[in-house]
């Protein structure tokens, strides 16, 4: 089984299907897609994909594990949000935010996930998390350990891997000496941003991270969003150095999942999304050799 392999593995974030799901596709269809691609891991967005979130019926949970079993797919990353701006006029306290987070930790564990993409509420245009983010996480570390899940903020453009935000996360990890908090690197950080209609502009953006910027972080990275916008007919994309970064991960024996995240046009057209994801997996398969 692929699932037992050491080294980078291929998976899919079914966020990629969000403009199709419940409209012309159901959850099992996502698993069928993964089977065609030979993907062995999945990311869900809990608030979008778990029926009756955050308290699914046991029937739904049974069906979830049936699908994972039938299609040979490992639950990899559980996407969720800590919504500190829950109530009008006041922010959640650290304890309230922890209690919201705890519900997700328990659900992630119940569904077999081992990594969480923990999206904190942001305070500014450079996506800085709330000032008390570390207080929330610190409270959650024991429960995360108990539930065997690693909470990971997503490092996402326009943030750069060399930014203060990232070194703050690393400092926290080192200080707490914990493996229950880590990083999810979104390959968009390596993207040469070409201005295009509808894309936000970030004043003062200093350009993308270099592939080697991931090297010192690698041991904290439990998951990657293998973000892409357009794979061409030759299964390549000029604006993101996919193969270079994957090569570094392979060289260093990084043992996690590369989750395809399609962030291109026409997400409401199945023929585009299904084709783009297959092209992306061909690129990854040919780079990895499996």
């Amino acid at each position: 089984m692929e699932g037992k392999r050491t080294g980078p593995k291929r998976g899919v974030s079914i966020f990629s299907y969000w403009e199709l799901l419940d409209i012309s596709m159901d959850l099992e269809d996502c698993f069928k897609e993964m089977q065609d691609m030979g993907a062995t891991g999945i990311e869900i967005l809990a608030n979008g994909h778990v029926d009756n979130y955050p308290y699914p019926s046991q029937d739904w949970v049974d069906e979830w594990f049936r699908l994972c079993g039938k299609y040979g797919v490992t639950p990899v990353e559980y996407g969720h949000w800590v919504d500190c701006y829950l109530f009008k006029g006041r922010d959640l306290t650290p304890q309230e935010a922890y209690e919201q987070l705890a519900v997700d930790i328990r659900l992630a564990h119940r569904l077999g996930f081992t990594v969480m993409r923990t999206k904190q509420s942001v305070i500014d245009d450079t996506l800085t998390p709330v000032t008390y983010w570390s207080e929330i996480i610190k409270r959650a570390l024991p429960l995360a350990e108990e539930c065997n899940v690693r909470m990971c903020p997503e490092i996402h453009g326009p943030t750069r891997l060399t930014d203060r935000m990232v070194s703050d996360f690393v400092d926290f990890i080192e200080k707490e000496d914990t493996k229950w908090f880590g990083l999810n690197v979104d390959f968009g950080v390596f993207e040469e941003m070409r201005p295009s209609p509808g894309r936000p502009v970030f004043p003062g953006y200093a350009g993308p991270s270099k592939p080697e910027d991931i090297l010192p972080l690698m041991k904290y990275v439990y998951c990657c969003h293998e973000k892409f916008r357009h794979m061409d007919e030759d299964f390549a994309e000029a604006t993101i150095p996919h193969q270079e970064v994957i090569g570094l991960l392979m060289d260093k024996g990084w043992d996690g999942y590369l989750l395809s995240e399609y962030e291109g046009k026409d997400k409401h057209r199945y023929e585009v999304v299904s084709d783009q994801l297959r092209r992306h997996h061909i690129m990854m398969k040919n780079t990895l050799g499996y």
Partner: protein, 139 residues
């Protein structure tokens, strides 16, 4: 299943209670990749054929439970899932006439992963919402 557009075709009809037509209903979906806690949802006035129906004449039905917009602001542990439409019941004695109607609807959510400069009550107060429009046929 849900329909792609925010304003759904299915679910548009007058509402009879105790033999009287008390208003009309239509359904909308949350065109987001996640569900939202009810307290993070901001209701806007509804327009039909250019006539405004203010927020406080609207009742939401989400996952089988009725809420006024004001009630929703206090509920931080129930989600409106993106996978299932909500029903809006708009008070209008006599209901809408048979034929086509132009329905305009807007909703905003507090997106906590976006800068408050863009997504907050202060930001919303400064910018009008983006309305969705659909022509619906009342039988």
């Amino acid at each position: 299943m849900i329909e792609y557009d925010v304003i759904q075709t299915r679910g548009f009809h007058n509402v009879v209670r105790n033999g009287e037509v008390i208003g009309f209903q239509f359904c909308v979906r949350l065109k987001q990749y996640r569900g939202y806690w009810l307290s993070m949802i901001r209701t806007e006035d509804v327009f039909v054929d250019g006539v405004a129906y203010p927020k406080d004449s609207i009742v939401w039905t989400i996952e089988g439970t009725d809420y006024t917009p004001a009630q929703m602001l206090g509920i931080g542990n129930v989600q409106w899932p993106s996978s299932r439409p909500a029903t809006l019941t708009v008070r209008k004695p006599g209901g809408l006439a048979q034929g086509y109607h132009d329905v305009r609807f807007a909703v905003r959510c507090i997106h906590t992963y976006l800068p408050p400069r863009i997504s907050s009550d202060a930001a919303f107060a400064a910018t009008p919402p983006q309305y969705e429009e659909k022509r619906l046929l009342m039988v």
